[in-house]
C-alpha cells in the first residue's frame, strides 16, 4: 500500500517534471520587455552613458591611407604594441571629413598622430605640437619620396607630358600626395594651372584608383604604394621625387612630459622587422616600415620653405615666386 502510494506520487512528480520545461519554453524570449512608446528626447540621447568600458585612453590620430577598415587593421596592432611598451592605453581616432589631422593634433582632440611633414608643419603653426620620432622605411632611411604614376598603357612618359592632362592628388594635407607632387611640377616648370584638371581624392589609394579607373591621367602619391602598383603591373612610374624627411609620430605638447618620454622611447624601441613583427598588419606598406629614428627639426626646414612657397598654410602662391 505504501509502495503504491509512493509510485503514484512519483508518477505525478514525473509528469510535472515533464511538463515544466515545455511550459517554460514558450516564455523564454519574453523575459525582458521594451516599451517602444517610451522614447528618449534629443537631450537625453546626448546624455546617454557610453557603452565603452575601460580606462581612459590616449587618442591616436592618422591620415586615411586606404579604407577605414584597412587603416584600422594596420594601426591597431601598432597601438597594442605601444600599450604594452608604455603601459598606457591608446585608441585609434579617424580624422573626420572637413577636419585636418594637424588641426586635431594642435587642438588636442588627438594626443598622438602619425603625421607627415606637411601636416606636422601645419600643426606646429596652429598649436603646441612636439615631433617624437621620424619613420624609417624598409631600408632604414628616414626619408621618402613621392612618385607620379600613369597606367601602363599611357602615352605619358615625362612630367612635362602632364601639361594639359588630368592629375589626381591625395589629401590636401598630405606631404607625398600633395606637397611633393607640387614640388615635382614646379621643378619641371609646371604648375596646377598648366594642367587640364587636378583633383584631391583624399587618400593615396583613391588617387591611384582614379588613374586606374581613368578618372585621371596621372597621380602623385607615396613611394611605397607607387612601387607596389608598379610591381604588380598596374601602374607605371614616370617620375620619382627627390628624398624628403619621412613621416613620423608627433604628440600634443600639452601632454605630461613623462608620457611623451615613454611614448618616444617606445617608438625608438619599436622593431617592426624584428621582435615586434608578430601581429602587425602590412606595416611594411607604411612610411615607418623600419621603425623610428630620433627626429631632427632641421630636416623639415626645406619642407617648411616649400610650404610657404606654395602657401599651403596660407593663401597659395600661384605666381611661382619665392621658390625655395
Amino acid at each position: 500500500m505504501r509502495s503504491r502510494s509512493f509510485t503514484i506520487f512519483f508518477l505525478l512528480a514525473s509528469l510535472l517534471f515533464w511538463l515544466g520545461p515545455i511550459s517554460c519554453e514558450s516564455s523564454e524570449s519574453g523575459s525582458r520587455r521594451v516599451n517602444p512608446a517610451l522614447v528618449l528626447s534629443e537631450q537625453e540621447v546626448a546624455e546617454l552613458p557610453s557603452l565603452t568600458t575601460g580606462p581612459a585612453a590616449f587618442k591616436f590620430g592618422f591620415d586615411l591611407r586606404n579604407t577605414p577598415e584597412e587603416d584600422a587593421r594596420q594601426y591597431l596592432p601598432f597601438l597594442r604594441y605601444l600599450s604594452q611598451a608604455t603601459g598606457l592605453a591608446f585608441e585609434l581616432r579617424f580624422t573626420p571629413r572637413g577636419h585636418s589631422l594637424a588641426e586635431e593634433l594642435a587642438a588636442g582632440r588627438v594626443d598622438f598622430a602619425a603625421i607627415g611633414g606637411l601636416s606636422l608643419l601645419a600643426a606646429q603653426r596652429q598649436g603646441l605640437v612636439t615631433p617624437l620620432a621620424q619613420g624609417k622605411n624598409g631600408a632604414g632611411k628616414t626619408s621618402y619620396q613621392a612618385a607620379i604614376i600613369v597606367t601602363p598603357a599611357s602615352k605619358l612618359q615625362r612630367i612635362t607630358d602632364l601639361r594639359g592632362q588630368r592629375l589626381a592628388l591625395g589629401d590636401r594635407n598630405s606631404t607625398q600626395g600633395h606637397l611633393i607632387p607640387l614640388i615635382i611640377l614646379h621643378e619641371h616648370g609646371l604648375s596646377l594651372a598648366d594642367l587640364a584638371a587636378h583633383s584631391y581624392t583624399g587618400s593615396h589609394a583613391a588617387c591611384a584608383e582614379a588613374v586606374l579607373a581613368d578618372r585621371a591621367d596621372a597621380c602623385g602619391l607615396q613611394d611605397v604604394m607607387a612601387r607596389r602598383l608598379a610591381d604588380q603591373g598596374l601602374a607605371r612610374i614616370i617620375h620619382w621625387s627627390k628624398e624628403f624627411p619621412a613621416s613620423g609620430i608627433a604628440a600634443h605638447a600639452g601632454l605630461e612630459a613623462a608620457v611623451i618620454a615613454r611614448v618616444r622611447q617606445a617608438l625608438l624601441d619599436f622593431a617592426p622587422q624584428g621582435r615586434d613583427a608578430d601581429g602587425l598588419y602590412r606595416w611594411e606598406q607604411t612610411e615607418m616600415a623600419g621603425g623610428f629614428a630620433p627626429v631632427v627639426p632641421e630636416d623639415y626646414l626645406e619642407l617648411a620653405r616649400w610650404v610657404d612657397f606654395f602657401g599651403l598654410l596660407a593663401p597659395p602662391d600661384t605666381t611661382g615666386e619665392g621658390r625655395p
Binding site: 509502495s3 512519483f10 514525473s14 520545461p21 524570449s29 528618449l40 540621447v45 579604407t67 587593421r73
Partner: protein
C-alpha cells in the same frame, strides 16, 4: 524501503526517461535556437559588410542625419529587421532608425554599462511591445567600438521555433512513452517468473525441502539459471538437513544409551537449559526452576554445600567441572548418582564467566557395579586370608585333638585331669568346626562333587529344616517335577540350605514363612552387566525367601563377610552366610540377595546345570 523489481524498474524509467526527455528537448531547443541565431548573425554580418564602409565613414565624419536615414532605409528594405541603430567610437548612440524616437528601455542603464554581465553575448532577445526581437550587434570596424545594432523580428522565427520544438517534443514524448511501455513489459517479463518462483517457494514452506521449483515457461535465461541453482541449493540443503537430522537422532540415541544429558548454564543470567535426557536423569519437568538454586535443591543435602563450593571454585579457578554427586529426584524421591562435567566460557575482554556447557550422566548403576566388584574383591581377599589361617589352625587343632585323644586313652577313668582333657578336646573340636567353616568359605575345603538332583538334596534335608526352623515358621517347597541335575557335593548343598534356613529363622523371631523353590534359568549378558560377574549359560535357580525383618543396605553389603553378624555376641559365629558364599563359589555358582528393612529377604542361588538344558 523495499520495492518489487517491477516497481523499481518503473520508477527508474520514470526518473531516467523524463531526464532523458528533458535533455533531448533542452538540446533540441538549444540547437534550434543556435541555428536560428547563427542564421540571424550571418544575415547581420552580411548586412554589416554591405553597409559598414558607408556607415563607418559617416560615423567618422559625424554625419548623423545621413546615417539615420541609412538605418531607416535598412529597416525598410529588410522586412525582418525591425530597427537599427549605430554606436560611435566612443560607445555613444550615434544614429538610429526609430521614426518615433529611440526607446528609453533599449539603452542599458548606466549601472549596467559600468558593470557589464560576465557573459555579455552578442545576441539579446526580448520583446519590443508584443513582438519578440533578437538584437544582434556587429562592429563596423574590427577591433573598434563603433557597432551596428540590428533588431530582428522573431515573430515568425519564434513561431517556427515553437512549432519545431513542439514537433520534437511530441516525437520525444512518443518515443519515451513507447520506452516506458516496453520497459514495463520487460520489467513484467523479468519479475513475473521471480514472483512465480517466490510463490512456489512459499508453497514449499513446511514441505519437503528437496521439492524442486518448476522453472516457469518463457522466463529469462538468467532467472532460469537462478531457479536451477536455487533448486540445486535446496536439494543440497535437504541432504544436509537429512544428514543433520540423522546425526541429531544418533546423538539423541547416544544420549539415551549413555544416559548423558546436556545442559547450558548462562552464568550471568543464572539460568540453564537442559536436554530431555537430562530432565529424565534429574527427574524434573518443564516447570522446575532452572537456576543455580534449583540445581542445588536437586543435590543430596549431604553434598549440597560441598557442590556449591565446588562450583564457585571451578569458576573462580578457571577449572573444568568434573565431579560425581548424589541427587534426589523430585519426580520419585529416588537417590541417584550423577557425574557432572562442564567447561566454563569466559569473556575475552573482562574475564567474566559467561556460560558453562556440559553433560550429566547417571552413574548410579556404574557405582553399584563398582561397589559389587569391590565387595567381590574384598570377599576374595578375606577368603584367601581366612583360608590360609584356617588351614594352619586346622593342622594345629588336628595335632591337639590327636594328642588329646591319645592322652585321654592313656588316662585312667578316675584320673583327676581327665575332665580337663575332655574340655580341651571339646574346645578343639569346636575350633576344628570353625576352621572347617572358614575353609568352606575360602573354598579350601575339598568337596566331593558328584551328579546330584537338586530336588532330591532339598527333599533329603526338608525334615531336618522343619525341625530346625521351628513350628512358628512355615516351610514351603516348590520343586519342579523333573530332576535338576547338578555336579555338586550334596553335603555342602545341604549345609547351604541349613545355614540359609537358620539365617531365616533368626530373621523371623515372631514366625513367618520360608519358601524354597527350584527352577531353571538362563543367565545372559544382562545379568553379567547388572552384577559385574557371571558367565552366561543354563543354571538351576534355587530361591530361598523369607518374610523376615529384612536388612538395611549396609547390612546387605557385608552379608557374606566372615564373622559379620548382626546378632548379639555369642549368639552366632558370623560364618553361616560366609560358608554359603564359599560353597556356592566353589560350585561355580552365584548368589544374590534382595532385601530391605521390613520386606523380607530373598536369596537366589544360581548353580550350573549338569546338562546345558535350560
Amino acid at each position: 524501503m523495499r520495492f518489487k523489481i517491477r516497481t523499481a524498474i518503473l520508477l527508474l524509467l520514470l526518473l531516467l526517461l523524463p531526464a532523458a526527455g528533458l535533455a533531448i528537448l533542452g538540446g533540441a531547443n538549444a540547437l534550434i535556437s543556435q541555428v536560428l541565431e547563427h542564421e540571424a548573425a550571418d544575415k547581420a554580418q552580411l548586412i554589416v559588410r554591405t553597409v559598414s564602409g558607408l556607415l563607418s565613414r559617416q560615423v567618422i565624419d559625424g554625419e548623423k542625419l545621413s546615417a539615420g536615414r541609412e538605418l531607416e532605409r535598412l529597416a525598410a528594405e529588410n522586412p525582418d529587421i525591425l530597427y537599427a541603430y549605430l554606436v560611435d567610437f566612443d560607445g555613444r548612440l550615434f544614429a538610429h532608425g526609430f521614426p518615433q524616437g529611440f526607446p528609453r528601455e533599449l539603452w542599458p542603464p548606466a549601472e549596467a554599462v559600468k558593470n557589464p554581465p560576465a557573459r555579455a553575448g552578442k545576441i539579446a532577445c526580448y520583446r519590443l511591445g508584443e513582438r519578440p526581437v533578437c538584437e544582434i550587434s556587429h562592429p563596423l570596424i574590427a577591433g573598434m567600438s563603433a557597432r551596428l545594432y540590428l533588431g530582428f523580428d522573431q515573430s515568425g522565427v519564434a513561431a517556427a521555433q515553437q512549432a519545431l520544438f513542439r514537433r520534437v517534443a511530441g516525437i520525444t514524448l512518443l518515443i519515451l512513452g513507447l520506452s516506458l511501455a516496453l520497459g514495463w513489459l520487460l520489467a513484467r517479463r523479468l519479475s513475473r517468473p521471480l514472483e512465480d518462483f517466490s510463490r512456489q517457494l512459499a508453497a514449499h514452506e513446511g514441505g519437503s525441502p528437496l521439492a524442486r521449483v518448476a522453472i516457469p515457461p518463457g522466463c529469462p535465461a538468467e532467472v532460469a539459471v537462478m531457479i536451477s541453482n536455487v533448486n540445486e541449493l535446496a536439494a543440497e540443503q535437504g541432504r544436509l538437513e537429512k544428514a543433520l537430522r540423522e546425526r541429531e537422532r544418533a546423538l539423541k540415541e547416544a544420549e539415551e544409551a549413555g544416559q548423558v544429558g546436556l545442559y547450558i548454564y548462562d552464568i550471568q543470567a543464572d539460568t540453564w537449559t537442559s536436554s530431555a535426557t537430562m530432565d529424565r536423569i534429574f527427574g524434573i519437568d518443564a516447570d522446575f526452576p532452572r537456576t543455580a538454586a534449583g540445581w542445588e535443591e536437586l543435590i543430596h543435602p549431604a553434598q549440597r554445600q560441598e557442590m556449591r563450593n565446588y562450583l564457585a571454585m571451578i569458576i573462580r579457578e578457571h577449572q573444568p567441572f568434573r565431579r560425581p554427586y548424589r541427587i534426589i529426584r523430585p519426580a520419585d524421591g529416588a537417590e541417584r548418582w550423577v557425574l557432572g562435567l562442564g567447561e566454563v566460557e569466559y569473556d575475552d575482554d573482562d574475564g567474566h564467566p559467561l556460560f558453562m556447557v556440559g553433560t550429566i550422566q547417571d552413574i548410579t548403576q556404574q557405582r553399584q557395579l563398582e561397589e559389587q566388584f569391590r565387595q567381590a574383591q574384598k570377599m576374595e581377599s578375606v577368603g584367601t586370608l581366612a583360608g590360609g589361617i584356617a588351614h594352619d589352625f586346622n593342622n594345629l587343632l588336628t595335632a591337639i585333638i590327636g594328642y588329646g585323644q591319645i592322652t585321654l586313652m592313656e588316662m585312667g577313668p578316675d584320673d583327676p585331669h581327665r575332665q580337663n582333657i575332655t574340655d580341651i578336646l571339646a574346645a578343639a573340636n569346636r575350633g576344628a568346626h570353625l576352621t572347617k567353616s572358614l575353609l568352606l568359605f575360602s573354598r579350601k575345603q575339598s568337596s566331593d562333587r558328584r551328579p546330584v538332583n537338586l530336588n532330591e538334596v532339598i527333599g533329603g534335608v526338608e525334615t531336618l529344616l522343619r525341625r530346625m526352623i521351628g513350628e512358628d515358621i512355615s516351610l514351603r517347597t516348590d520343586l519342579p517335577p523333573e530332576p535338576v541335575p547338578l555336579l555338586a557335593d550334596a553335603h555342602q548343598l545341604e549345609q547351604v540350605l541349613m545355614n540359609l534356613a537358620a539365617n531365616a529363622r533368626d530373621a523371623m523371631p515372631k514366625g513367618g514363612s520360608l519358601q524354597l523353590s527350584v527352577g531353571r534359568t538362563e543367565l545372559g549378558d544382562d545379568f553379567v552387566a547388572a552384577h559385574g560377574y557371571g558367565r552366561p549359560g543354563c543354571y538351576a535357580l534355587l530361591t530361598v525367601s523369607d518374610t523376615g525383618q529384612g536388612m538395611s543396605e549396609e547390612t546387605r553389603q557385608r552379608l557374606f563377610e566372615p564373622f559379620f553378624s548382626t546378632k548379639e555376641v555369642g549368639k552366632g559365629t558370623g560364618l553361616g552366610l560366609a560358608v554359603v558364599y564359599g560353597i556356592i563359589k566353589q560350585h561355580e555358582g552365584y548368589i544374590t540377595v534382595e532385601s530391605s528393612p521390613g520386606a523380607g529377604t530373598v536369596f537366589r542361588i544360581y548353580l550350573p546345570l549338569l546338562r546345558a538344558e535350560c
